[in-house]
Symmetry: C2
Subunit: 238 residues, 2 copies
């Protein structure tokens, strides 16, 4: 973790083992949130720069334990909303969707094999702390995650620009009110057939204008917020 | 414009004056869409690379006329959905929101002074052709655009993470069914007070989890698709 925001979130999540701070700066407020067993080292600005990936770590870098859990443990919480990132190689895209999933109330995000590592520095930064807010599942196949989510009682929906169902039609039919897992793939290549085919439905976001598609971050935001609203307005055809 | 997709969209929009193609490639299908007055030049791969901003222009580069219109002309079409990009410096962000606006059915997107130029190469590429699908307004103040849209009968809503209205509450109240213009600002700094204050309301996207905010592309997608759905489901409390 680099920078005060990410370090603060990681400290709150209890996963930090060591914090390095620029000895020339005051970090008392930030470090007040550190547990007693967190090791804190004051280093020079040059020393900090050597530890950091970013050009400006803003005076603080932390080392944290991995925070992911097995899929079975994540499902024990009976998530109302979950996300599977299938084959997303771009860490910024993956982190952005993780952040959006958190905002929409998802409590599980799966990073299967073939998707960028959730601990990739760019992914951590794009998640803006959400890496520590939801249950992260790492590894396994996307197909296996889809099967486990379905077996657990979730409706699994694959976001697909050429999907056979329209998102508005699902909303009209009240089909987003129950427990749901969304599967998102890479923008350029879409979802592998074996993953899309394993879902309960393939869902397209309606294109009202002349754009051919949305980018991944926008499509995920529309799908996840449609679910969030439908789950919170059970009496309303939303 | 660089690459077949952008050049195809620009040709369809009738704004291209000249096309440069890699002499070693076959572009017959692409160029079939060119009007008779479009000048076409076959050049070497090196010549093409010298014309292009991108490393891989995929064999084709085009020069197009500016395609923007005055705000008054854009309003003559009585847009049901419009967007004002207020102070967005990142061309990728601006282009992405333009693409999402097009997908959601917006027909006007305003780039006031202080926002990145819509013809910035990165913005053009991120828009994925949407630069040619909607009426682009360039220049003037964001405050002036807000005033003109209100005078024209649009409800102007400023997206603001700390806004006094919740997007779900607006949907519940049926307040998104009419003609609407959304104002989006830069993620880091938000909207200037003079712009947010000129809108009819400042609207926040609900945060259901523990994320503090959404990034610009995600927030814009949620707001614009909420409007798109409300405008198309007038009888339903959506």
């Amino acid at each position: 973790m680099e920078g005060p925001q990410a370090v603060r979130e990681a400290l709150a999540a209890g996963v930090v083992t060591e914090v390095f701070v620029d000895q020339a700066r005051d970090h008392a407020e930030l470090l007040a949130g550190a547990a007693a067993d967190v090791r804190i080292s004051a280093v020079t600005e040059q020393g900090l720069a050597a530890l950091a990936e970013t050009v400006t770590p803003q005076g603080v870098v932390a080392i944290a334990r991995h925070a992911h859990v097995p899929l079975e443990a994540a499902l024990a919480g009976r998530p109302a909303l979950a996300v599977v990132l299938a084959g997303i190689a771009d860490p910024g895209n993956a982190g952005t969707v993780l952040r959006t999933a958190d905002a929409a109330g998802a409590s599980v995000v799966v990073f299967p094999d073939g998707t960028v590592d959730p601990y990739n520095g760019k992914c951590v930064r794009a998640s803006a702390g959400s890496l520590f807010h939801v249950a992260i599942v790492r590894g396994g196949t996307a197909e296996g995650a889809v099967a486990a989510l379905r077996a657990d009682g979730c409706t699994v929906l694959a976001a697909d620009g050429h999907g056979e169902r329209d998102l508005d039609a699902l909303l009209d039919a009240g089909e987003l009110a129950g427990r749901t897992a969304w599967v998102f793939g890479a923008e350029a290549h879409g979802l592998p057939t074996s993953v899309a085919g394993a879902a309960d439905a393939r869902v397209r976001v309606p294109m009202h204008g002349r754009a051919e598609s949305l980018n991944l971050a926008a499509a995920a935001a529309v799908c996840l917020y449609a679910s969030a609203r439908a789950q919170r307005r059970p009496g309303v055809l939303s």
